[in-house]
């Protein structure tokens, strides 16, 4: 079993799935089932990797990685096809396959034209995002990092609404501008490492040993940081996100909020800090400022939103600010908190987007002011909405709280002032959440909207997510155990 390159299979499989779907252009029903089957297989494989997470690491793997694959690729440039999975990647992978499944289900009835193409894009996106989460070679990482923009671009652009073209292009150009500078930095560290050791390689483990001149280090790190900050997104690089979210279809929003944003944080954890520990330390105040600014500013702005999706989008910015704060603190606690919050936010926000999408598909509007009094009309949906809204507001016992609490606890030790300010963000988060809940669920109905309660399919989707919310909230133990070793190693502990 160990001889099978599972990680490569994980990445390649959705790609094959996408190719399989191409001939099914006009048989949309079949295409849906094929896509679903494919994602389920993917989910099973991911679960299998989970089951071996305790196994002893294969030879050659960096510490902490229990699955490791390394193939020759472009040898002349020192590029190898290196994949590895540790607890952090495992978590991200699980989230990716799960959310892709959710996306497929969400799109099942809501995408009416070019359905097959839609599923192809979802599968492509899954493949590339998995690639980002599994790569241990900087070149490979970058490859996936940029590739994932393409399916996302089409998802927003083709199936979006409103100013979807503007948003799609904005999304693409924004994120690409950042990552191109990162490409330069990647090449930079590759060259520096090569000139020092004589071995030109993009291997992460090797590059970590590079000795960097402080100034050079800071510039290289700044390029990485910029790229990640745009993906994150951190204030003031966030303006693409509300637009992209607002105009994306539901599945696009879910993928965007649940997965794409996480790649930024993941990149910072996996590459940014380990590669440039000193520069990262020097620039910590910057990151902290952006994080805290994001928390306050975005949460504040979220309050003023008139469009449900935009509100949730701004809330994403706020939550990701917490993630950034945890990373900036770089203590074991805060870091695990950040990772947990990434997962938690992925689930919660996806659920909120799914819900918003469900509401909008019924009422054909995203305006908050059109709704009201949903609780009596669609009690099941409302109940779920309340649950996810509260999770998003950081109610203890639900998943976001675990992450936020760990972040705040861990960060307070090293970033006292920032953490204090971040606490204010909790209030602001509650303020916009209860506003949303009140205007949607409570009060009198403001416009007569045609509404039916959740279909069984929607209930399935929401239940999957709700279980995630509650289980992580009440029993985060397995998750935290999964993270303990990699986080320990990342923060400088002996393996």
């Amino acid at each position: 079993m160990t001889t099978l390159p599972v990680l490569s299979v994980l990445i390649v499989l959705p790609l094959l799935g996408a190719i399989c779907l191409i001939p099914l252009k006009d048989r949309e029903k079949l295409a849906k089932w094929v896509a679903l089957g494919w994602t389920i297989i993917e989910l099973l494989i991911a679960c299998w990797t989970w089951s071996v997470s305790g196994a002893s690491p294969p030879s050659g793997a960096p510490p902490g990685f229990f699955l490791f694959e390394d193939f020759a690729w472009i040898d002349s440039l020192g590029i190898r096809f290196t994949l590895g999975m540790d607890g952090i990647s495992l978590l991200m992978v699980l989230m990716t396959v799960l959310l892709t499944l959710v996306c497929i289900l969400v799109s099942w009835r809501t995408i009416h034209e070019r359905t097959t193409l839609h599923f192809i894009m979802l599968l492509l996106l899954e493949s590339t995002i998995l690639g980002v989460f599994l790569s241990l070679d900087l070149f490979l990482f970058y490859l996936f990092w940029e590739m994932m923009l393409i399916p996302m671009f089409f998802l927003i652009g083709i199936w979006g609404h409103g100013r979807n073209i503007y948003s799609a292009i904005k999304f693409f150009v924004f994120t690409l501008s950042g990552s191109l500078l990162m490409l330069l930095a990647i090449i930079g560290i590759y060259l520096i490492h090569g000139s020092q050791s004589g071995i030109y390689t993009f291997n992460l483990t090797a590059l970590i040993d590079t000795r960097l001149d402080p100034t050079v280090g800071i510039w290289l790190y700044a390029a990485f940081l910029l790229s990640f900050a745009i993906k994150f997104p951190l204030v003031p690089f966030h303006t693409w996100l509300p637009d992209a979210h607002t105009d994306a279809p539901t599945s696009g929003s879910i993928d965007l909020a649940g997965l794409l944003l996480k790649t930024g944080a993941y990149g910072l954890i996996r590459f940014g800090y380990p590669l440039f520990p000193e520069a990262a330390r020097t620039l910590t105040p910057l990151l902290v400022t952006m994080a805290v600014a994001g928390i306050l500013y975005a949460s504040w702005i979220a309050f003023a939103q008139k469009d449900m999706k935009r509100l949730v989008a701004y809330s994403s910015v706020g939550h990701m600010g917490f993630v950034a704060l945890g990373i900036a603190a770089w203590t074991p606690l805060a870091l695990s908190g950040s990772i947990v919050l990434m997962v938690a936010h992925g689930i919660t926000t996806s659920a909120l987007f799914a819900l918003v999408g469900m509401l909008a598909s019924r009422a054909k509007t995203m305006e908050i002011s059109a709704y009201g009094g949903l609780w009596c009309k669609v009690p099941v949906l409302s109940c779920f909405f309340m649950l996810f809204a509260m999770a998003s507001a950081g109610l203890p016992g639900l998943n976001n709280f675990v992450g936020e609490f760990l972040i705040l606890t861990g960060a307070y030790k090293v970033q006292q002032t920032a953490t204090l300010v971040a606490f204010l963000g909790l209030i602001l988060a509650l303020v916009y959440t209860v506003r949303l809940v009140q205007e949607l669920l409570f009060q009198e109905e403001r416009q007569p909207l045609p509404m039916g309660d959740a279909t069984s399919q929607e209930v399935v989707i929401l239940t999957i997510l709700a279980l995630g919310v509650i289980i992580i909230g009440l029993h985060p133990g397995p998750l935290l155990d999964m993270l303990a070793l990699p986080v320990h190693i990342l923060t400088g502990g002996a393996p």
Binding site: E146, G157, V173, L180, L183, L191
Partner: protein, 469 residues
């Protein structure tokens, strides 16, 4: 004339005789298809021959070389011309370009490029370049149904002639300094270490002007959009792909032989900088797709200039790689545009709306080509850009690398505009896509190359590394 001579000169001979045969065949049968058939066969034969021939460096008596670079580019030019010929057949019928002159001229142009590739002295280089350009003068103006195409021809011709004069004058000055036309000797003596020779420097200034025109670098770029706009689409593919490749090849034949290239740094720097900036900016708001791609081509050549500038960091390899990459990308892009135009698509961006669904094959190829041009992985465009920027950083050209990468980020916008029009916008036209098997084959091959060479560039890179140490 030994056997080795013939073996080396065979591609040239094949192409020349093929061109004549094409003319002859066309004249005898009055059927354009015969000409095309002969021409394609010839081109493929030349390409295949050059691929399999032995690596003999210099032909004993003819003064031609058959080094690795020569053979690679010969094959590249030959296959490119075959592809262009295939793409032309339907397009020309649509545009009503008849006659055997067209395929013959394509072969003639290829003949010039191949001669250039095999050159060991400046005279052959100059003549090869001029023959190639001369062929393009004719090709650009071929589309007589469109009045503007002869206007484009005139513009290209006048500027081309002036730049040829500069080139000739420059080579003459170099000759005065070196006393010979052999490349290595000229390069060694005119760009020697130590204080530069003023006359040689004057010569290089003139040569640079000439080459800047061929590469359409700013400020000698202004013909590019006009020619791209008016010429038949396959010709643009050829012009953009192969002729730029030939110009890059020229520099690759010359520059690595030089002693000290320091003196050329600043002019190249300026050319690269201006081209990257102007090309990418001017393309942003273009409403005509071909002009947009013309400006894009200006910018892309800016990147090549950056690569050449970074010769100390394996820039020559990067430049060679990118020249080939760009050739394939433009073949795909303009090939697809040609097919679309053959299906009745107008020149404006708005005419491309919704073509992604009504013409999935051509539009798909165009989209992939555009993503490749934008440098998005996993395409050859990305790998090429990666190599260029790696070379630039290695050579210490950090400022230019940063500017380059920023302009590349800007450039994404206009490439996306086309993709947007293709897939994101709707239109009512519901006509069926008309595309021949041959076109599919050519476009399919180019796409396969874009992806495969993007993902697995090892072999090509290794080869280039051997040729351009």
């Amino acid at each position: 004339m030994t056997l080795a001579d013939i073996s080396i000169a065979l591609p040239l001979l094949i192409l020349a005789s093929g061109a004549l045969l094409t003319l002859l065949g066309g004249a005898l049968t009055h059927n354009g298809a015969v000409g095309t058939l002969i021409a394609v066969t010839t081109a493929i034969a030349a390409g295949l021959w050059s691929l399999q021939t032995q690596a003999v460096l210099i032909a004993p008596t003819l003064g031609l070389s058959a080094g690795g670079l020569t053979r690679l580019f010969t094959a590249f030019f030959a296959f490119m011309s075959a592809a262009v010929l295939v793409l032309s057949s339907r397009y020309n019928a649509y545009r009503d370009i008849r006659g055997e002159e067209y395929p013959a001229t394509i072969l003639f142009t290829t003949f010039g490029m191949v001669a250039l590739a095999a050159a060991t002295n400046l005279m052959i280089i100059f003549l090869g370049l001029e023959v190639m350009t001369f062929g393009f003068y004719i090709l650009v103006a071929m589309d007589r149904e469109q009045g503007v195409s002869s206007e484009a021809g005139l513009k290209y011709l006048l500027l081309g002639a002036v730049s040829a004069a500069f080139l000739a004058f420059g080579i003459a000055l170099l000759y005065c300094v070196a006393g010979t036309l052999a490349i290595s000797a000229v390069m060694q003596q005119t760009l020697a270490f130590g204080p530069p020779n003023p006359v040689a420097v004057a010569g290089w200034a003139c040569v640079l002007v000439g080459i800047a025109f061929k590469l359409s670098l700013v400020p000698a770029h202004l013909w590019t959009p006009d020619v791209y706009d008016a010429a038949p689409a396959p010709v643009v593919a050829f012009l953009s792909g192969a002729s730029k490749g030939a110009a890059v090849l020229l520099l690759l034949l010359l520059l690595p032989q030089a002693g000290d290239l320091a003196i050329l740094r600043v002019p190249l720097f300026a050319l690269a900088l201006l081209s990257m900036l102007l090309g990418n900016l001017a393309a942003l708001r273009q409403s005509r797709v071909r002009r947009m791609l013309a400006y894009s081509s200006i910018a892309q050549m800016g990147y090549v200039a950056l690569a050449l500038l970074s010769h100390r960091g394996d820039g020559f390899q990067a430049a060679a790689f990118y020249a080939i990459a760009y050739g394939i990308m433009s073949l795909a892009a303009f090939g697809a545009i040609g097919v679309l135009e053959g299906n009745g698509c107008g020149p404006n961006l708005d005419d491309y709306r919704g073509r992604g669904y009504s013409h999935p094959l051509a539009a798909g190829v165009l989209a992939v080509a555009l993503f490749a041009l934008a440098g998005i992985p996993p395409t050859i465009g990305f790998t090429g850009k990666f190599l260029i920027f790696a070379a630039a950083l290695r050579a210490g050209e950090i400022t230019l690398a940063i500017i380059g990468i920023l302009t590349a980020a800007v450039s994404v916008y206009y490439y996306l505009r086309v993709v947007t029009a293709l897939y994101l916008q709707r239109s009512e036209n519901a006509e069926r896509e008309r595309i021949s098997v041959f076109e599919i084959a050519v476009l399919g091959h180019s796409i396969a190359l874009i992806l495969l060479l993007g993902l697995f560039p090892s072999q090509l890179l290794g080869f280039l590394r051997m040729q351009l140490p």
